[in-house]
Point group: C2
Amino acid sequence: MIDDFMTLVQARYSCRDYDPDKPVEHEKLIQCLEAARLAPSACNSQPWHFTVVESREMILKTAKCLQESGMNQFADNAGALIVINEEPAILKAVIAAKMDSQSYAQIDIGIAAAHICYEAASLGLNTCILGWLNEDRIKQLLNIPAEKTVRLVIAVGYAREEKHYNKKRRPMEEICDFIG
Amino acid sequence: MIDDFMTLVQARYSCRDYDPDKPVEHEKLIQCLEAARLAPSACNSQPWHFTVVESREMILKTAKCLQESGMNQFADNAGALIVINEEPAILKAVIAAKMDSQSYAQIDIGIAAAHICYEAASLGLNTCILGWLNEDRIKQLLNIPAEKTVRLVIAVGYAREEKHYNKKRRPMEEICDFIG
């Protein structure tokens, strides 16, 4: 086993400057979705659906649903937008009896999103996970059924210029306790 | 950039048979937590805290909080248990004005959990994400403050015997729509 996940972790950043003239290969998008498809989820419930927007025309229309108060203007230039919808989760009876069946679905959506971002990084693509969106508008535009919840949109593309950020994070001692 | 995230995705599985005689190196656990520390989150809110249980005595006590109706017996043999707590998220004002500030915290917890599992896989460790837990009991045992929510426990260790599963997942055409 090669220890290079950390290399990907260091390389990934939230890219907000995509090259509009460098389209994302459809095959690479499929590969990103394949990684998400194989993600683990509570009781293997797989409570997700992905709507993948690839044409410039539809990217611009979808981006509009992410843009308010000047937010997320860069989404216009993404090579693709992957809309992640949460679906009703069906859990094993033993767990379902103890928990609201949707309890883990948001966590599972996060896990799947991470799969997309790291497969993308692995393929030399950049990504940005976008949480704010006008859900009604995006559902109407993309014919997403009412019973689904649109949770995230992931912008995918090639950065105009590759950046290397020092990640600003809380220090380890603040986020961890070790119990012997 | 090396395309081997997919290799890790294929290799990772939910391990339910740990070798109790093969402890997990503390340095490897630190490496897993470092990956989680560097995970992206909504507005970089980092709404997480990790309580890492390493001694056999405390692993057995913590495992009891995960075991009811015969569930998760294998947790006794894990080399470590990483308890993931959700913390109050502080979001940028522009987003906070539009959303309940905890809206993204569960998604962020899922993203951080994925970081732990893949860094572990990258280091030759096995993992299992456990969602069901007796929260009151685990908080009391590990002195986790009342205002935190215990979301997940990740069992980490070395499999007694390395397994290769064919992952059972919904087919791509069922989980994806492509919009040109």
